[in-house]
Amino acid sequence: MSEILSIQNLNKTYEGGFQALKNVNLFINRGEIFALLGPNGAGKTTLIGAVCGMVRPTSGQILVDGHDIVQDFRRTRELIGLVPQELSTDSFETVWDTVNFSRGLFGQPPNTDYVEATLKNLSLWDKRKNTIRTLSGGMKRRVMIAKALSHEPKVLFLDEPTAGVDVELRKDMWDQVHALQKTGVTIILTTHYIEEAEEMADRIGIISKGELILTECKSALMRKLGRKELVLDLAEPLGTLPDRLTKYKLDLNAERTAIKYEFDSTSDDNGISELVGELVRSGCSFKDIHTKQSSLEEIFIRLVKK
């Protein structure tokens, strides 16, 4: 899979000295969905802005499909579509006009069939004659996606695409993003919703304080950093943990009714059999045993807090 976006040694320091991006290196594969996770102010929007041309990098190089975004800005911008975080729309324009305007702005000849198909795919066709101010928030978000897709980009940036969107619409949006990927569009999204990244992304990047902490295939990340937890619900409350169990670093809850044991799910010797044997020998009886996989959210919090 070849790279469609290459970011090398990217730095951005704003006037006033705030360094929003610190030596960021990132490579995005053609056709993948890449989720960029990070807390507020981590540099996600600055990074997108730098690629799209809204932010002027202090140093570093960005290539889109092999073209430099400064020297060959016309070519690279033709390849990119952006859906910004804010719902910035021309309130008095109709859906049809605003999408066609975007297509023209990006230098594409009129193509009513393509615009019609885009609006239909985004369930906007019935609203094409409506002015944007009459649409709901979710519909406005779709209009922005339609505008970003109007010039048939190869790379689509979605900055917090489902912010402020209800659960049903969010899932609908996820389906649409997957459908877009099938057409060959590379999608880079930023999100606060870990669930969103978990659901959609092929790869995940975590950015914190302007630094890209890691980029990893989602499943590998889950495997590598995903710890499992064994929870033993006790039949009767336990006063204190028997001494022989201290080596397991167990966690007894406040009610003293459950023991938690964290283990490495990838290891052959995870200690579960021994632990259960020791507990039985210590006279502990259980009413339930279950395991839980760390969510991406827990992984994210753990990494960002480092």
Binding site: C52, G53, P84
Partner: protein, 253 residues
Amino acid sequence: MNWRAAKAIYCFEMARMWRTLAQSIASPVISTALYFVVFGAAIGSRIDQIDGISYGSFIVPGLIMMSVLTESISNASFGIYFPRFTGTIYEVLTAPVSYIEVLLGFVGAAATKSMLLGVLILSTAFFFVPLEIRHPLLMIVFLILTSVTFSLFGFIIGIWADGWEKLQIIPILIVTPLAFLGGSFYSINMLPPVWQKVSLMNPVVYLISGFRWSFYEKSDVNLGISLTMITVFLIACILIVRWMFNSGYRLRS
């Protein structure tokens, strides 16, 4: 060169004018017509001729120029400031366009609106006062140069302004006084010598004087100087806009 982008912006801006026809066209035409009624018909009949021209006819070029330059500034400054205010400017900033296409779109549309307005006011003037245009081609050249130059100036204000108040401050505090004192309603030869010299520092004097010459072959300053001054102002505005886009001033962070 991305001609489609320039066309898209131009058509988008022109569409805004048709949506707000009363504000864009009717309002300035009506207020200028009122000037004709008050200064041309009512007060003008009691004022002597200036340079052999009846007062009502004398003020026509000045009134057209005044409307054209204020509307050029207003249209262009609002045209670029509004997308900055609403955030939709992101599309222009991420599009494959240079400042030239952006100018052709925004400034071209603002200048077109002003020229239309100028023509409408001129047509309205025929109903109120006797008029002759001795050099129609030169009149058109002045109209185009003024519309484009002041649309560029408005565009600069629209980028510079970081609030609605700032958007209004230069037109109200600087441009309107300069326009009123630029010889719309009088010949600067009617002023005491000291004020005549002060008036020559007002760029609007050159515009109105040159424009009036195209009507009656009468002017306060030399025609060549008028054309030179407006050309210099036009080039200065283009260079400032170019710098704004190249440096990202108030557009890119």
